[in-house]
Symmetry: C2
Subunit: 371 residues, 2 copies
Amino acid sequence: MIKKAKLLDIAEALGISTGTVHRALHNHAGVSSVTKARVQQMAKTLGYRPNLAARYLSSKRTLRVSVNTLKGTTSFWDEVRAGISEEARALVMENIEIEYRTYPRLGEGEEEAFEAALKAGVDGIITFPSRPQSLQAWMRRASRGGIPVVCVATDAPNTGRLAVVSIDTLASGSLAADLMGHFLSGEGTVAVTLSSVAITEHSEKYKGFASTLSGLYPKMKVLEPLEDHDIETVCYEKSRELFKNHPELAGIYVTTEASIPVLNAARDAHVLDKVIFITTDLFPALVPEIRSQAVAATIYQRPRTQGRRAFRVLHEFLVEGECPSFQVTLAPHLVMRGNLDFFLQRQTLESTPQRAVGVPSDSPEMIDYFG
Amino acid sequence: MIKKAKLLDIAEALGISTGTVHRALHNHAGVSSVTKARVQQMAKTLGYRPNLAARYLSSKRTLRVSVNTLKGTTSFWDEVRAGISEEARALVMENIEIEYRTYPRLGEGEEEAFEAALKAGVDGIITFPSRPQSLQAWMRRASRGGIPVVCVATDAPNTGRLAVVSIDTLASGSLAADLMGHFLSGEGTVAVTLSSVAITEHSEKYKGFASTLSGLYPKMKVLEPLEDHDIETVCYEKSRELFKNHPELAGIYVTTEASIPVLNAARDAHVLDKVIFITTDLFPALVPEIRSQAVAATIYQRPRTQGRRAFRVLHEFLVEGECPSFQVTLAPHLVMRGNLDFFLQRQTLESTPQRAVGVPSDSPEMIDYFG
DNA sequence: TTGAAAGCGATACCAG
DNA sequence: CTGGTATCGCTTTCAA
């Protein structure tokens, strides 16, 4: 291994001082464009990589990141935030401040939150772009200003965002389809519910589901997706209608968190035990439905891990100036009655993280179920 | 936030020098037991936490860790090692050297490898204890000597090991059982194969499977586990016997990587399409079996993630003197025909990790499927 | 626009 | 046994 170049090396090579080199490399004001160019060139040829420890040690600056997410309607966003602060806490370098900005519902107040973060002069933003379109202008502005933005759960295309952390939606849909096919022995009509086909995340799940089903189980039939537009009553009513119009329905895949209204509709229509349910996410109200076999399986989207990874990517960029990956796509977990308890147990334990000092005894205690 | 105490603070509080404080805190020779006690007491009351950046900057020591695993019989251990070096590379602090020691088969040469690592004076060990019993003496010796040991994939109880990283075996078995129950509509006789009931990992999978099956699907019946003792021919022969003696067999859960011999036996016995297969792990030979529906589902044990987490735990302990968790238990991933391609695609991509500098364009490229 | 120098907190060595 | 001090590589301020 070649000894790595430091600021002094490039300063001496150029016959200048380390102060100038530093300013040149950081595009600070007060450096002639010629020396700046010479420095940057020399840094490249010497393969200069900053020593993060030294930087941290001498720097008094503290990084500020804004986390813009949905107010905890369900536990999903609470888990995402928990993952973020968990990862931040675990960080060796503790010069990081996290500001949480939340908005009450999809598309409501997220522009304001983003603007506020920008105005506050944060160094980076983690956001859930519930309405990518409306956020686009703000995100472009951030990226033009050199503020990295990481999207969680959903992507916001053409926004110059640094990275996106999400579940593989196509795979989620495909897994749901394959399971459904198996559960129904390859026959029957199935439905899919989603918020809106306009949302990439949802339409991809539908696409994955439909294409896998038609590919692997040609005898099965998928209905047109049911759009609930994130409104519970709409979801319930449309579901009732679905069950009335399609008495032959054998299965349904709910791609969003909105599975309870569908389940209630099925119950009220007395078709609950005739229809195989595959749902999404895991939250308290869903637990009894899984226990009672009303829901055969749910696709868990690992919100805590999404939060952890989002923070890691952003932090790595802020500290090293490198982006480990533009897209972190996680495989979803499958939760059924059989392994449900293991996930719940984990969720409980997770609220009281345990750390130990020194070489511990033989008593395992922490289960990283959601990892 | 209270300003954190540093060496100088505790030195001044005691009217001594930082050098003495340093030696006292590190149990270095040449400190009177009284001052050592005073220092340690004061450190505690001041809540002293060492500044890792400063330590790294001033220390010329490089950490050496030995990774003792099975030579790549299948891709499993290659993936584990890949995860380890991946995580090591990503580390900000780069004063780490990894030495890989491998052994050809289970229980063969692992004591020697462990002894060699100890003799070489490494600072920590990550190991797969294929024969926990035989390794026990060595591991205790390591822990007595203050050398932290992290187990991957399998635990080695009562060895003073620092931590264990593994898949939740009970949950794996339970998930397999619930799937099996669904696939078979709650009826039929099923079998389980494993290496040996003496191996905790395997017997737990069996236990999870059996208890979940009897709990959720009382009409189903589980046969006594079939032990193959890690010998392919034994596995094949016993499987043939099984199929002959139990023509009513409807499903089989293979808890180990040894699914190919079982599949071949089923094929040769002409029962392949009458038996639902749920297997473990994912490797090239299994791919066509999943594609052809011979295998309904496989439980993927995320070797890469296991490697990553094992390294993280060990590193954190070496650097911070803290163990983040004694037990990292991961939820397995379920792979079926529907989502198989997504996992394979990931495996390909993973061999050529991509990093980018600066704010990248809108072209997602990396899929962290195995995360 | 540039240079010089004072830290940051821990380690390691040399004197006493 | 203990104190003093140079050192690690970078940031930041003060002079020039």
